[in-house]
């Protein structure tokens, strides 16, 4: 075989070598700037089953893009065809060149430009016998079809099921243009070679044959390969500085995540890796309700990640409601909410906050501690309802923050005041464990989430009131009458997506109402969230209006939610009544005098109170 070199391979080789050097440097940087315990996790995980699982996940997500497929099949096909198709072209090209050259250790450009060195089988026969040439053409066709969808998405995004796409920066546009031209350039270059030699399969062979009918392709072979090589090299040099840096870094993220590394303020390496792994695909823009409520403001996660990556941290850090819809939709699985919170500086607000609460009457501890939360105090109907539910169930309970002087600390944490939040946590943990209670019921999903996720409360079960009411209903501790109205349920972000409590409130609604008209969509943001200090009232109202419109498509009679904040926000704009799930339950309670058999059970009440606890 003649020598496997031609000067046209140089642009590619230079670009590719640069890319490899950058990638190796980055991996080392990511690893050495991990936190000490995270580093140990990676080292111990490296030789375990987790590596294999991470490999499977890499194939599923980085190549096949299964998460994107699940949400939007057209978009999934576009991403899959580009990633998987390109990967297969590289893989088959490598096998083919190794098979024919008989040399496993050859320069990388040999397999990339193999068709130039070996034009392949002759044209008409190669179309019917599926050899290497056939498979290469098939995957090139797959990539080109994905490219067609990508171009369509850029100019007519609605066809691809995207209301909005990302507005890219100049460097990203340049890289995008290079990427778009790479595959047509490859097709042309291969077709020139095939046309001149009378070889090739159905795609390159046919196009080459067509070329040879009009002109002599042999003089265009070298220029077309030069263009292809230059485009590849150009793209590889641009890659580290653009969003395409996600291509090599996403697998690294998947491996680190599988080993148990999570985003934390002290982990600079993992933060940088997460920022680099964002592909700016724009799926988060589509999920964000602020895209409708505040059009033109680049507040969505992909814009935010880009600005942090480029060391520009504007006030975007406060302009997010932390509802988590983008995080749920993110195909890379980035921890977008912690990422946003970590950029909010700790300013020492609340450093001397004092909290007072009641633990028991006359030194007698109670089994159930009720924590209403700040927001619930602005919606006293919830407190009244919970009180009547507790009493109806015969529970022995204490109202911890009856004077409204307590806070769970999560609002401070969401605003970046981590130290103050930790102080409050210490104080409350101490109080709760002193109280002797074995059940802590809260009416606020914000409190519920931090109690559940961060508080260390041995021997105390934390319940949101929707869970508590559901248990009472299931054990017949309270009875309700069913209404003839239809209800729709709004799942609060901190309760549904944040804490995974979706089914309990829905079960209560089934017991209370004729029909549950809740639409089957990802939980919406009410716009009242404490996560976004920088978002003004008008924008919040716009978010709320959009959410109510979406929820009331089925023409329900009442809107039920399970968060005082959602209730307040929706009440201000909704045309149908808005009720908290506890208010709905309390309003339809069957009073004890209507239930004569309850008196006989009186003796068992105390035991059951313990059982509920």
């Amino acid at each position: 075989m003649e020598k496997l070199f031609d000067p046209f391979v140089l642009p590619f080789t230079v670009g590719f070598s640069f890319l490899v050097l950058w990638f190796v440097y980055k991996i080392v940087r990511w690893f050495i700037s991990l936190r000490g315990d995270d580093m140990k996790l990676v080292i111990t995980g490296l030789f375990s089953l987790k590596t294999l699982q991470a490999l499977v996940e890499t194939v599923n997500e980085s190549l096949l893009h299964r998460k994107v497929f699940r949400n939007n099949s057209r978009l999934g096909y576009m991403h899959m065809s580009l990633a998987f198709g390109w990967f297969m072209l590289i893989l088959i090209g490598n096998i083919e060149s190794t098979y024919y050259s008989g040399n496993l250790f050859k320069p990388i450009y040999v397999s990339v430009f193999w068709r130039f060195f070996d034009p392949g089988p002759s044209f008409p026969q190669a179309m019917i016998q599926p050899g290497f040439a056939f498979w290469m053409d098939l995957f090139l066709l797959l990539v080109l079809s994905g490219l067609g969808f990508a171009i369509l998405k850029r100019f007519r995004s609605r066809i691809m099921g995207m209301k909005r796409t990302m507005r890219h920066e100049p460097a990203d546009r340049l890289a995008l243009a290079a990427l778009w031209m790479i595959f047509p350039a490859r097709l042309v270059a291969e077709s020139m070679t095939c046309g001149a030699n009378g070889t090739g399969s159905f795609l390159t062979g046919s196009l080459g044959y067509l070329f040879s009918r009009f002109f002599d392709p042999s003089s265009s072979i070298l220029p077309s390969w030069w263009i292809y090589s230059f485009l590849l090299g150009f793209f590889f040099v641009l890659l580290p500085f653009t969003r395409y840096a996600h291509i090599p870094s996403e697998p690294v993220l998947i491996f680190f995540r599988k080993y148990g590394v999570r985003l934390s303020p002290g982990s600079a390496g993992y933060t940088d890796l997460s920022l680099t792994a964002c592909s700016s695909c724009g799926i988060c823009i589509n999920a964000c309700q602020l895209a409708e409520a505040a059009p033109g403001r680049p507040v969505q996660s992909s814009y935010f990640v880009r600005s942090v990556r480029k060391n520009r941290v504007p006030d975007l850090q406060y302009e997010c409601l932390i509802c988590g819809r983008c995080e749920a939709a993110c195909p890379v699985g980035l921890e977008l909410m912690p990422m946003r919170q970590n950029t909010r500086p700790d300013l020492g607000i609340g450093s001397r906050a004092t909290i007072t609460g009641k633990l028991g009457r006359n030194g007698h501890p109670r089994r159930i501690l009720y924590f209403a939360g700040c927001m619930t105090h602005l919606s006293p109907g919830i407190i009244r309802s919970m009180s009547s539910i507790f009493n109806q169930a015969g529970a022995i309970w204490e109202f911890y923050d009856a004077d409204g002087q307590a806070c769970c600390g999560r609002p401070l944490k969401l605003a970046g005041q981590v130290d103050a939040a930790r102080n409050i946590r210490g104080k409350l943990e101490n109080d709760f464990s002193k109280s002797g209670a074995d059940l802590l019921v809260t009416s606020c999903p914000i409190c519920y989430r931090i109690f559940n996720e961060e508080y260390n409360l041995p021997g105390i079960r934390v319940l949101h009131h929707s869970q508590y009411i559901r248990d009472l209903l299931e054990w017949n501790r309270i009875k309700v009458e069913s209404s003839i109205q239809n209800a729709v349920y709004h799942s609060p972000c901190e309760l549904g997506r944040g804490s995974g409590i979706e089914s309990e409130p829905r079960e209560i609604i089934k017991a209370l109402y004729k029909a549950d008209l809740t639409p089957d969509i990802e939980g919406l943001c009410c716009g009242g969230s404490l996560g976004g200090p920088g978002i003004d009232l008008a924008t919040r109202r716009a978010v709320a209006r959009g959410a109510v419109e979406e929820l009331t498509h089925g023409d329900p009679d009442v809107l039920i939610t399970a968060c005082p904040l959602c209730k307040k926000t929706f009440s201000a704009i909704s045309r149908i009544p808005v009720l908290d799930i506890s208010e709905a339950t309390a309003g339809q309670l069957i009073k004890p005098n209507a239930l004569p058999e309850r008196k006989k059970q009186q003796g068992n009440h105390h035991k059951q109170a313990v059982a509920v606890g």
Binding site: A353, T354, L378, Q405, P411, L530
Partner: protein, 110 residues
């Protein structure tokens, strides 16, 4: 001195007189550029009345242009009740964050 004063039967309340020399609106201007909704403030005091942390946000905002000590924000819980009760819909949490942030940036210069 006291004997002389008592003759008049009244005294001037020193604590409430307006000293134009002490007014410096630079910080307040910068903050209101960030939190534009602040301009709608009526000084109604709903925020102070609802605050579980005991922060007197109303008087704090009134005193902002005289740059007195703002230590009362140390007990703020950022719970956002003041935002919910505000009749003008002022983003009070953002206002508090910006007050602290800007004061840090200014340091002792202002």
């Amino acid at each position: 001195m006291d004997a002389v004063k008592s003759k008049f039967g009244f005294e001037i309340n020193q604590g409430r007189h307006i000293d134009m020399d002490r007014i410096d609106t630079r910080l307040a201007d910068e903050i209101s550029a960030h939190v534009r909704s602040w301009k709608a403030c009526l000084n109604c005091g709903s925020c102070s009345a609802t605050c579980p942390g005991g922060v007197g946000l109303r008087s704090l905002l009134l005193k902002l242009s005289t740059l007195g000590e703002l230590t009362t924000l140390d007990t703020c819980l950022l719970c956002g009740k003041c935002f919910l009760v505000c009749p003008r819909g002022i983003s009070t949490r953002y206002l508090i964050i910006q007050i602290i942030k800007k004061r840090r940036e200014y340091g002792k210069a202002v």
